[in-house]
């Protein structure tokens, strides 16, 4: 399978431009100190993209290390339960390390080697990106430091342990809300003082240019495989594709190759948390406004003074006040629609997946499953809904036990 993104003439897929703009969104709002590293990264990435040997090495890693292609699986009992359109699952949970995050980290680790850097830093929320980064670094023999909010260290203890086993150093972040957003701040700060020796493997399609593009491209294998598998297994493309949106990387990877297939509806699902009041959810595309956070212009949860709001989701991977600029672009052009799913509904979807399909989905992915069930219920039996099952739920077992115990 080719790993270069589609280069069709349609303007909607021809983003970002050289300044990192997806329509009005994106760009680079970072201190001057980081510009040098970002320019270097953009340049090296473009060269790598056009280098057949880099692509061949990346493809080989995806196949033999990550375990791709991931299956497209028909969720028969879940479909019967909903009584409408067929529900198909794109099984990113079956990748090495149990989530889509590894698609990006092996790609960026390969890029790190190419740039001659031997040290990597990363941020993590759920710990999935941290584990995937630590894994890729172990594979290449790179030094790895992962910044993680104290609150997330508590919620995702098994992943913290795994990162340490993989040889990474986990640095607790105690500032602000002590979650993903603060971990990104801390990683950026660290990067400023070591840009010449260290690569920052950002874990989602957020941050300053060229990160949103690089991460999208590396995750696009999800959408490309889905297209090919749908043609083989469904006899054509699905009517609807659904993915959860934290920063938006699994969704961007699923949506991007489908952007020009305008017959396919693209639905992103944000974390609706406890409700629609500020502080109760993590749904910037649903409830926020355009603004600047973490080096990019995109939808964000901010107060009227421009201060980033605290957000809430039971799932650490979605507990983020911002979102990738390409999603803002897709929202503004109407190419994708975005909605949110509450903690409770995501938990119900988790339970159903466990009992009806024998699959423990990640709490993040459960948000997408919940929305897919809703969509499937309201559609014809002849329609097909594909859900990006971005990760597996083993990491969430303790947190789920705690939440259920309290409920």
């Amino acid at each position: 399978m080719a790993t270069t993104p589609p280069t069709d003439a349609s303007c909607s897929a021809e983003v970002p431009d050289a300044a990192g703009r997806f329509g009005d969104f994106g760009g680079r709002y970072v201190p001057e100190t980081l510009i040098y590293a970002l320019d270097q990264l953009a340049e090296q990435y473009e060269a790598a993209r056009q280098d057949a040997s880099f692509q061949a090495e990346y493809d080989d890693l995806l196949k033999n290390y990550v375990g791709r292609p991931s299956p497209l699986y028909f969720a028969k009992r879940l479909t019967e339960h909903c009584g409408g359109a067929e529900i198909w699952l794109k099984r990113e949970d079956l990748n090495h390390t149990g989530a889509h995050k590894i698609n990006n980290t092996v790609g960026q680790a390969l890029l790190t080697m190419r740039m001659g850097k031997r040290r990597v830093i990363a941020e993590t929320g759920a710990g999935q990106h941290g584990v995937a980064t630590a894994t890729a670094c172990a594979h290449f023999g790179l030094e790895c430091i992962v910044f993680m909010g104290e609150e997330d260290i508590r919620r995702q203890a098994p992943n913290v342990f795994s990162m340490k086993l993989l040889g990474a150093e986990v640095r607790p972040v105690t500032s602000g809300s002590r979650t993903l957003r603060d971990a990104v701040n801390e990683a950026m700060r660290e990067w400023m003082s070591c840009v010449e020796t260290t690569h920052y493997i950002l874990g989602s399609v957020v941050g300053p240019h060229p990160f949103p593009k690089i991460v999208r491209d590396f995750q696009s294998v999800i959408g490309r495989e889905t297209i090919e598998q749908s043609r083989q297994q469904l006899g054509g493309l699905p009517e609807v594709v659904v993915a959860c949106v934290g920063g938006g990387s699994n969704a961007a990877g699923m949506f991007y190759p489908l952007v020009e297939h305008t017959g396919v509806s693209l639905v992103g699902v944000e974390a609706g948390g406890r409700g629609d009041q500020p502080g109760d959810h993590a749904s910037p595309l649903t409830y926020g406004e355009p603004g600047v956070l973490h080096g990019s212009f995109s939808y964000v949860m901010q107060d009227e003074d421009g201060q980033t709001c605290d957000v809430h989701s039971m799932s650490a991977g979605l507990d983020y006040p911002g979102v990738g600029p390409e999603h803002s672009y897709w929202k503004s052009t109407g190419r994708a629609t975005y909605t949110s799913c509450t903690d409770d509904n995501a938990m119900k979807a988790f339970d159903l997946m466990a009992r009806l399909e024998g699959i423990l989905p990640a709490l993040e992915s459960s948000h997408a499953v919940a929305q897919a069930m809703k969509i499937a219920s309201g559609r014809d039996r002849s329609d097909r809904v594909v859900v990006c099952l971005s990760g597996r739920g083993d990491k969430d077992a303790a947190e789920i036990a705690r939440l259920k115990g309290n409920g």
């Binding site: 709002y29 100190t33 040098y36 701040n185 700060r189 956070l293 973490h294 421009g306 980033t308």
Partner: protein, 265 residues
Amino acid sequence: MSAIDDLFTRLRKENRKALMPFLTAGDPDLEFTAAMIRELAARGASMCEVGIPYSDPIADGPVIQASYTRALNKKVKLAEILKTLGAVTPQVETPLVTMGSYAIIYRHGVEKYADALVRHGVAGMIVPDLPLEESPRLAEVCKSRDLSLIQLVTPLTPRDRALRIAETSSGFLYYVSIAGITGERTELPDELVERVGWLRENSPLPVCIGFGISQPEHVRLLAPVADGLIVGSAIVRRMETAETDRGGTLREIGEYVASLVAELG
């Protein structure tokens, strides 16, 4: 011409150097901010850099970040900060510049923010997360209002880029001494003197050095090669006691700043 241009014209004529202390607005409250600006002016500060607290300051080290958090926990708002500055500016000769994230400026509206600075007698702004490529519009807005837009050059900025930054900047160029975040340093890079010397020779704007400067020796070493020095974390660290001892904190900061001014030569 902004008040900053006037200041440097005068200082250059008198062969003197500028000292610009940084303080966080609203830590621990705006009354203290006003008192501190008056104190800094009385102790010989040539300008003051007023930090607008921001929830996600990626260029700042732990000391300034903690100060921003203290101010935000007290719910300080931009409108009140500007009102306070507006009340102080007529009382001091010292020009003020704000240092605030583009996240805040964008939320309020670029033109509205610039207009508000003018209305409250502020001479210019530093926007630490707005690099050259994103700054043309703000540069226009500032220019048409005689506000200085002070942009940053770092040790990692290539020379041709530094000159382009100088072209869109006004007031002075802010030379960041180290590739990193704000915070006191005992040692500053060896190449600093040479780099600043090159920039000063080749840019039409005055050049001030900031980040890491905290000790009288730094001032003695760097004042001769720059047009001014900026001191941030070393002052903000001294603000930590303001909540419990206002008078003592003010005096301590005043004496510290006076000791640095004395080294300017």
